[in-house]
Symmetry: C2
Subunit: 553 residues, 2 copies
Amino acid sequence: MKSDIEIAQAAEPWPIEKVAAAADFQPEEVLPYGREKAKIERKEPVDRDQFGKLVLVTSINPTPAGEGKSTVAVGLADAMQQAGQRTMLALREPSLGPVMGMKGGATGGGYSQVIPMDDINLHFTGDFHALTVAQNTLVALIDNSIYQGNPLNLDPRQIIVKRVLDVNDRDLRHIVIGLGGRTSGVPREGSFEITAASEMMAILTLSTDLADLKRRINRIVVGYTYDRQPVTVAELGVGGALATLLKDAILPNLVQTISHTPALIHGGPFANIAQGTNSIQATQLALQQADYTVTEAGFGADLGGEKFLDVKTPLLGKHPDAIVVVATVRALKMHGGLAKDQLDHEDLDALHKGLANLGRHLHSMKRYGIPVVVAVNRFTNDTEAELQMVVDYSNEHDVPAYPADVWGQGGNGARELAAGVIAAADQPANFTPLYEPTDDVETKLNRIVTQIYGGQGVELEPKAQKQLRQLVDQGWDHLPVIVAKTQYSLTDDAKRLGAPTDFKIHIREFVPKLGAGFIVAMAGSILTMPGLPKHPAAEKIEITDDGTISGLY
Amino acid sequence: MKSDIEIAQAAEPWPIEKVAAAADFQPEEVLPYGREKAKIERKEPVDRDQFGKLVLVTSINPTPAGEGKSTVAVGLADAMQQAGQRTMLALREPSLGPVMGMKGGATGGGYSQVIPMDDINLHFTGDFHALTVAQNTLVALIDNSIYQGNPLNLDPRQIIVKRVLDVNDRDLRHIVIGLGGRTSGVPREGSFEITAASEMMAILTLSTDLADLKRRINRIVVGYTYDRQPVTVAELGVGGALATLLKDAILPNLVQTISHTPALIHGGPFANIAQGTNSIQATQLALQQADYTVTEAGFGADLGGEKFLDVKTPLLGKHPDAIVVVATVRALKMHGGLAKDQLDHEDLDALHKGLANLGRHLHSMKRYGIPVVVAVNRFTNDTEAELQMVVDYSNEHDVPAYPADVWGQGGNGARELAAGVIAAADQPANFTPLYEPTDDVETKLNRIVTQIYGGQGVELEPKAQKQLRQLVDQGWDHLPVIVAKTQYSLTDDAKRLGAPTDFKIHIREFVPKLGAGFIVAMAGSILTMPGLPKHPAAEKIEITDDGTISGLY
C-alpha cells in the first residue's frame, strides 16, 4: 500500500496557472510560488451578493484513532467538483512543529489530498514564518523599550504577549530571559508558544484586508503598566512595521487537490486557544469564485465548530449552508470505552455507547438552525453492521448519514455524501447565533457549556473572577469568548470521553486578545507549546540526493 | 532627494522570466516567487571549465560613515553589463533583524540597487526562515533527547549549538530554559543567536549540493557527553529531516538590479562568526552563466576578504581574478581620527592619516597574488583634492584607483572603475594561499594576524589553550580557522582605527563547527545576537492600505 506522500508524489499536478484559470482567477491576480503554489492578490473588495454556498466540515471529539476531517473535506470537495459543481476548498495551513513531532500533517490522506503535500506541510509560502518574525519582533521591541529606560512604564511581570516558534519545544514554555548583566536586557520570566497559538495568527486570519490588519495589530494589548493600565502596540508605535512584515502573508494561497479541485489554504490558528479556522479573506475569495466552498474548523464541533459559528461567521458575513459532522467507527468505539488496540474487531456494544458523542455534536450543530449531515469516514476494518448502526443512529436524530471511502477512492468514494451535502445546503437555514455580543462574559460561557458541550455551566476560579472584573472595567466584556479547553473531551478533562452531562467547565484565567477581538477563557491546563514525543517524526524523514522526500506524513 | 525605497519603487523591473532568459537560464530551471523573484534549480553539476572571471568586492574597515560596499558592487556590475560584458552579481541576502533595528538593508543604495528591495530586505524567498526552523528544530530535538531519558548521555552544560531568530533580541542572549517542573523540559542555560550567525547558515552557503548539505549537517557537533566526547547530528538521527527543511533554501535566488543586470542573492552568513560570503552554489552558477561575476564579502578585507580567499576559494574551485577594495573619503577621515560629525569639510591631514587603513588592506590583498583595484565611493561633500589624494596614495602602492558615483548615477557613475576592473582581471594572477590545511591552528592564526591584520601575532587565553589541545586530540586542527573579531578595527579592540601594528589578537575560546568545516576563534567579546537601538527602524516603517511601504532602508 502506498503512503500518503508516495500517492502525492505520483499525482500529476496542473501548473498553478491552469488551476487558477479554471477557478476564474485573472492572470494578474496570481503570484506564483514555484510551479504548484500561488498567492492570490485581489484588488477589488469582495461582493457578498456573489457568494456561493458554504459547507462547514467539523467532527466528533478527536481520538488517537483518527477521524480524518481534512481527508473528508478534500474528498467531499473532489466529489462535488466531479458532480459538476464549481467547488473550492478553503482550508487551514498545517503547523510545521507537529509535522516534525507526531506524524500527521494536515493535507488530507490517501487519494483525498491537497498537493504539493510536502511543501504545504513544510514551509509552504512562508506565512507561518512571517507571523513568527512579526510576533517575535513585537516582543523584542517591548523588551527593548523596557531596556532603553521603559518610557511606557511597562511592568516586566505583566507582559502578556509571548515569543513564538513553529517548533515543538517544551523547554521554551517557562524560561528566564535578560540574564547576563547590564548590556543583555532586563531579566524577567518569559515563554514561547507555537506560532499557530499566537495572537498574530488569530489576527491575520480574522482580518478582512490590510487596513483591518493594521488596526487589529495596533489594538494588541502587550501587557500592563506598574499601575495596571493596558499598553497597546499603538503606544509602542510599531504597528506599521509589524503589518509590513505580514504584507505577503495576508494573501491567500492557492493549490489543488490530487483531482485538481482548487484549494485556498490560508492561516492556521489552533481551535483551542484561537478560532481554529482558515482566514476570512480566503473563505470570502472562495465564496465569490465558487458555487460551493468546503471549509473546516479545527478539532471537534465543540471547539472549532462553535467558534466558526460564533466568532468567524459574523465577520465573514455568511453562515454555513450545511454542516458536515465527520465520525469514524473506530473513534466512536473509543468514545464507547475501547482502547486503541481493541478497534480492529466489530464491537457493536462499544459503538452504541460511543454514539452518544456524535449525538451531542449533532444536537449542538442543529441548534444553530443549519442543516446537518454526518460523514462516516470508512476504515478498512469497519463492518457493514457497524456502518449501518452509525447511519441508523444519525437518521433517528433526523440527520442523513453517508459512509464515504475518501482515503481509498478520493472523490469517487464520496459521491453519495456529496449529493447529500448538496441537498442539505439547498434546504432553508434559519441561522440562530448562540449569544449576542452584548451578553456578558459569563452568559456567553454558560451558553457554550450548556448548549454546546452538554454540561451544567461554568465555574470561574478566583483568579478568573478577579480578571473578569478587570475585563468589565476596561469595557472588553462585549467581545466574543474563546474557550481554550482539551479537544479530546466535551469536558475540561481529556480522559472523559463519550458524552458526559454531569460536569462544569472550570475557567482558570482570562487572556484578552484585543487585536484578534476576543477574550480567551482558559479551561484546565492548555499547553500552547507542544513537546516532542520519545521518537519524533523527524527521525523518519529522509531526503535523497536528488530531493525526493520520504517519511513525511 | 528620493529615498532608496522610493527609487527602488519607481524602477521598472523586468518580469523575472525575462531576467532569467537574458541570463541564459532555461525556463524549466526557473521557479518564480511572485513576479520579480525566482529560485534557480539546475539539475546538472557545474562545469568549472566554463567559469567566467570572478571579481571580489571588499573594503577598508567599516565605520559609521559608511563605505557602501554593496552599492559599489551593484554599480560596478551595472557598468560592466552596460559596457557589453555578460555580467552577473552574486551577493548575500540581508538579515531581517538589523533591518528592523538600525537603518540599513543590504541591497545597495540610490541608483545602484537590487530590486525588489523591500522583499529582499524582508522575507525574500524564505531562506533565512527555513534556516531558523532547521536550527531550532535541531536544538529542540537535542533538548527532547535529554528530556526523554538522555540516551546519548548529553551534558546539558555542554550543548554548543544555539537556537536562533532573525530578530535583534538582546534579551535572548543569556537565558535559562526548561523551567516549570517535570513536564516542561530539563533546566539548563541557553542562548539565542541571530540566524545569520548559525552554523546552519554557514553550512547552507558552503554546500555544493544537497548531498553535501546532508553530509555537513550530519557532521555538526551539537555538544559533549558527560565524559567529554563529542556528539553529532548523525548520532541523533535527524540529519535527513533537517536537510529536508532546507531543500528549497539551498536553491539560489535570482533578482535584478534597477538596470536589469541579473543578480543571484543567496545566503547571508556573518563575516565575523562565519565566512561572510554568499553561497558556493550561487557563485558557481553565476560563474558558469556570465563572463564576469561580481561578488562581495562581509565587513572589511581583514574579515570577509581573508575568509573568501582562505575558506571559500578552495571549495569554490576558483579564486578571484581581481579584488576591488572599496573606500570612502569620509570613512578614511574617521580612520584618521575625525568624529562622525566632522566629516563634511575637506581635511587632507585626517585623510592622509586614515589612508594607512586602506594601505594595510591593499598590502593584505596583494599578498594573495591577485590584481587589486581601489574603488572610491563618492559622497556629495568629497572634494577633488581629497579624491585625488586617495587615487595618488593607491597608485603609489601600485594599485589603480577610480572614484565612482554609483549612488547618484548607477552604472554610469562607474564606467572608469569598470574598465579598470576588467583590465585588472585580464592580468595574470598567481594565487598564493595564506596557509595550508595541514598547518596547525596557531600557525594559521599567526599568519592571519601578521600578514592580514598587520599585528604581532596571536595570544591564546587559558581557556582557548585548553580547547586547542582538545581540538588536536579530536583531529580537528586541520580545518580552516575563522577569526571572530570586531569589524571596526584591524585589532580586537573596536576603538583602534587606522592601521596599528603594535598589537596581538587575543583568542578567548574556540568553537568547532564541523558541519561548516571550520574552527571559530573568538577574539574579544563578539556578540552573535545584536540588540535594538533606542529608536529602532521599526518605528519609522509604515505601509499604506494599498500596500506601499515607506521608511525601509
